[in-house]
């Protein structure tokens, strides 16, 4: 049966990249992926791109194709908020397995930091809220996640210090990753003392807004050397707005991960590397617990105990995640995939993890825990 393989997954540096644009960042990442895969523009016959709030367009995929110089046989954009990166890979996998394309370039990029004012970014993102029932109340994305966080702490007995452990871990990882937006290590006390944004979330519980790009090449052939085979993918969409979310806020992650693992014929216990969406510390806690990695309320303590470290039993977001490598929209979550590919195929260099896991899980979340996409991958060599 046909399958798809990750031939390359690359990101640009994230952070303040003066003079960048959505197209320049997409192009930088795409060129890096082509180079890493040893492929030419003419090899690419499928193109899936994300969206860019700094470059809204009806047809971003073909705008990019023309600019970058490819003429794909199959192309379109995907919009699923933070779930877009994983959703693009899922549809690229379907295009390959159906025979519609053999080499699909999946790409996104955005100058979200330098391309718009902070207020404009906050306001654009606040439109994730309902236009009648939520956004007019002066709610922001951190406020939506803060409502989830307050409920999470109430239900599980976890503390703000437990959540802070996840931020500390992501920063420790980012401190050794070239290209990370935020790399200065900090402590749990620093997180707890950082500026309040929306209780219980402080500044250091929140990801930064960055410029950056990411690209993945998915292929019908494994290519030379080690690569990653997609062995299971699934989605779940339980709601759009927080007001209509289920009581179990991360229910969608439970559904999509169970389905993806079942399709892969694996269990969460088989996974040896974790790539999990982490827009806020509480996002990461809720998702790790919904995936069945951590017991309810225990994700922070697992992090504190070293379980998710490079040298730990289950390395997590070893590039630093959205919380510290940075968040530039769609490509933000593609960095999780780039790191998974690098770690799983022995390309991580000085920051290589201690173990050599055979399987990795990648989970993306869009909206306010609204849209979930899970991919399960297996190392092949």
């Amino acid at each position: 049966m046909s399958a798809s393989f990750v031939r390359a997954a690359c990101v640009t540096p994230f952070g303040r990249i003066e003079g960048s644009s959505a197209l320049s960042l997409m192009g930088d990442a795409a060129q890096a992926a082509l180079d890493a895969a040893g492929m030419e523009r003419s090899d690419i016959d499928g193109l899936i791109c994300g969206y860019a709030t700094t470059h809204p367009h009806l047809m971003l995929s073909t705008v990019f194709a023309e600019d970058f110089g490819i003429r794909p046989a199959y192309a379109h954009a995907v919009q699923l908020g933070g779930g877009t990166g994983a959703a693009m890979l899922m549809v690229a996998d379907m295009a390959i397995r159906s025979g519609e394309a053999r080499n699909v370039l999946v790409v996104a990029g955005e100058n979200r930091l330098t391309g718009m004012s902070r207020d404009a970014a906050v306001q654009t993102l606040a439109q994730v809220g309902h236009p009648v029932g939520e956004a007019p109340l002066g709610a922001t994305i951190p406020a939506y996640y803060a409502l989830g966080a307050a409920r999470y702490l109430h239900e599980t007995g976890a503390t703000e210090a437990d959540l802070a452990e996840l931020a500390v871990l992501m920063r420790r990882h980012a401190s050794q990753t070239p290209g990370a937006h935020l790399a200065d290590p900090f402590s749990v006390a620093d997180v707890l003392a950082s500026k309040p944004i929306a209780t219980p979330l402080k500044l250091m519980d929140c990801c930064p807004i960055s410029d950056g790009g990411g690209a993945v090449i998915l292929s019908a052939e494994p290519g030379p050397g080690a690569s990653l085979k997609l062995i299971g993918a699934a989605q779940a969409h339980t709601h759009q707005h927080l007001s209509e979310a289920p009581d179990d806020l991360a229910l969608g992650a439970r559904i999509s991960s169970a389905k993806a693992l079942e399709r892969a014929g694996r269990t969460i216990g088989d996974m040896g590397y974790l790539a999990v969406y982490d827009s806020f510390t509480v996002t990461l806690a809720l998702l790790l617990e919904a995936l069945g990695v951590s017991a309810p309320g225990k994700a922070g303590q697992d992090a504190a105990g070293g379980r998710f470290a490079r040298s730990g039993a289950l390395p997590l977001n070893t590039h630093g995640g959205l919380l510290s490598y940075g968040h530039c929209g769609v490509a933000g979550a593609m960095a999780h995939m780039a790191e998974a590919w690098a770690q799983m195929t022995g390309r991580a260099g000085a920051r290589a993890i201690a173990s050599e896991p055979a399987h990795a899980i990648y989970h993306g979340d869009g909206g306010v825990l609204s849209s979930h996409v899970t991919l399960v991958m297996e190392r092949v060599s």
Binding site: V122, Q123, L137, L147, A150, S243
Partner: protein
């Protein structure tokens, strides 16, 4: 006294919800509007100190809550004072930041 908080209810299946819709999200039936009592239970709350715009910057810090109305729907609202999750609230539409917003107080 009415809370002024508008809800919708399906004439066919009695499903009740808060976001304005043209048809019932369960069965497609025709909705009728009605006013909530204003009695609710606190599902979650946050104190916002980073406002989205100039209007709300003048109000920080302010509390935003998810309130479970006794009629069933969960709505987002402002909250006057600190309250424990699970505690009873009473709310009504009030003028905040130049617009009508549901405001709840500990009951």
């Amino acid at each position: 006294m009415s809370s002024g908080i508008e809800l919708q209810r399906c004439r066919a299946c009695a499903k009740t919800w808060a976001f304005p819709r043209r048809r019932c999200p369960s069965c497609g039936g025709e909705p009728e509007a009605f006013r909530a009592s204003g009695r609710a239970t606190l599902f979650s709350a946050t104190v916002v100190t980073r406002a989205p715009d100039e209007t709300f910057r003048a109000l920080v810090p302010y509390r935003i809550a998810l309130a479970d109305l006794e009629e069933g729907p969960r709505i987002m609202a402002h909250l006057s004072d600190e309250a424990e999750i699970g505690s009873p609230l009473r709310g009504r539409m009030e003028r905040i930041a130049g617009r009508q917003i549901p405001l709840f107080r500990p009951a």
